[in-house]
Every structure is written in structure tokens, then in C-alpha cells.
């Protein structure tokens, strides 16, 4: 089975600081997509950022950016200037050519005021 691994079950960060969440994945496909989703206590899954595997440039969305290392099959999420509203479960996910999203087990992020 093609897997997604998040090695940090829990992380914490001070407000206004930077935190990096790790994700590695396994795939035999050359064309695929990677995502980070956020799930706050409301349970609504929200897309944070996406990366197409064929793109060399790392995706950025405001305070959120990724470090995509294709050869290492690594896709980490960096959150800058952390805010209280960033506290949530974060899921890394991979999607292949015509295969459904495969998720990691999640990282619970706490933000300390």
C-alpha cells in the first residue's frame, strides 16, 4: 500500500513563532499531488496548501509554505508567525493519477499564547 507518514503526533509552538510539520510519502507514480489539510475543532476539513509533483517551485499561501523534496519523498509544512487560530489537526495527503487521497495519521498542533 502506498502510505503517507506523519512522524509527529503532537507539536506545540509559541504564538508568533515558526513551526514545521513533517510528512513523508511512498509512491510509484511520477505524476501526483500533495496536500496539507487543517481540521479545527469544528471538524471541517480545510485545504491549507497544495503542491503538484511536477512543479519544482515550493507552494506558498500567505503564512504557510511547503518544503517539497521529490527525491526524498518529503513534504513538510512550515507555518510562520503562528496564530491561536492555527491550532488544529493537520493532515498530509497524497493523490495519484486516478487514485483517491491517502492521508497520514495527523499532527495535533497547539499554539501557546
Amino acid at each position: 500500500a502506498q502510505t503517507v507518514t506523519q512522524s509527529q503526533p503532537e507539536m506545540s509552538v509559541q504564538e508568533a513563532e515558526t513551526v514545521t510539520l513533517s510528512c513523508t510519502y511512498d509512491t510509484s507514480e511520477s505524476d501526483y499531488y500533495l496536500f496539507w489539510y487543517k481540521q479545527p475543532p469544528s471538524r471541517q476539513m480545510i485545504l491549507v496548501i497544495r503542491q503538484e509533483a511536477y512543479k519544482q517551485q515550493n507552494a506558498t499561501e500567505n503564512r504557510f509554505s511547503v518544503n517539497f523534496q521529490k527525491a526524498a519523498k518529503s513534504f513538510s509544512l512550515k507555518i510562520s508567525d503562528s496564530q491561536l487560530g492555527d491550532a488544529a489537526m493537520y493532515f498530509c495527503a497524497r493523490k495519484g493519477g486516478n487514485t483517491p487521497l491517502v492521508f497520514g495519521k495527523g499532527t495535533r498542533l497547539s499554539v501557546i499564547a
Binding site: 499531488y33 471538524r43 471541517q44 476539513m45 493532515f91 483517491p100 487521497l101
Partner: protein, 115 residues
């Protein structure tokens, strides 16, 4: 605004009951999915569908079935509910790969308790 709606936010059912979880999307998406979310296990795929009347098993289909009679609606059925099916169920939809914005859009989740 993109919308995936699950019929219930909370549901309590008895062991042995037949349970229907309904999901409707208004985005004309071809692909629809049912996931189960448990603490420490992330989201696991139960079933998915790439077209009307079509269904494919995911990673944990045992004890579940699905129905997709219309493009916008994808139902998850627990044929005979058991306590180990107590969980959070998430429905999602997406466009096919190769199109823009191929990420999945999720419903708000149904927390099912089987007693």
C-alpha cells in the same frame, strides 16, 4: 461557494440497525468518497465512486456498502451496525485528476455512535 453536505452531524444507533449516511454535493463533481476518521489512525477510505452507479472498495470496506444513484448524492450504508463502527464519517468530492483544483472538498462530518 463549494458545498458538501452530510445529512446528520451526530447520530446514535443501536447494534444491528441498518444505518444510512447521506452526502450531497452541489459542485457537479464526478468523484465522491467516504472516509472514516479515528484518533491515531487518520482518515481511512471506505468506498469511493468515480461516476453514477459506479463504486470501488477502499481500504476498509467490510461492514459497509454504498449507493450512488445520482451524481450529486453518495450514500454510505451500514448493513448491521456494530459498536466497532462507532466513529466519525467524512464525505468528500472532487473533480477528476488533470483538472484544476483537484483537491477534495469535505462535508462537516457525522459522528456516529453505535450502542
Amino acid at each position: 461557494d463549494v458545498k458538501v453536505t452530510q445529512s446528520s452531524r451526530y447520530l446514535v444507533k443501536r447494534t444491528g440497525e441498518k444505518v444510512f449516511l447521506e452526502c450531497v454535493q452541489d459542485m457537479d463533481h464526478e468523484n465522491m468518497f467516504w472516509y472514516r476518521q479515528d484518533p491515531g489512525l487518520g482518515l481511512r477510505l471506505i468506498y469511493f465512486s468515480y461516476d453514477v452507479k459506479m463504486k470501488e472498495k477502499g481500504d476498509i470496506p467490510e461492514g459497509y456498502s454504498v449507493s450512488r444513484e445520482k451524481k450529486e448524492r453518495f450514500s454510505l450504508i451500514l448493513e448491521s451496525a456494530s459498536t466497532n463502527q462507532t466513529s466519525m464519517y467524512l464525505c468528500a468530492s472532487s473533480v477528476p485528476p488533470g483538472q484544476e483544483n483537484t483537491e477534495a472538498f469535505f462535508g462537516q462530518g457525522t459522528r456516529l455512535t453505535v450502542v
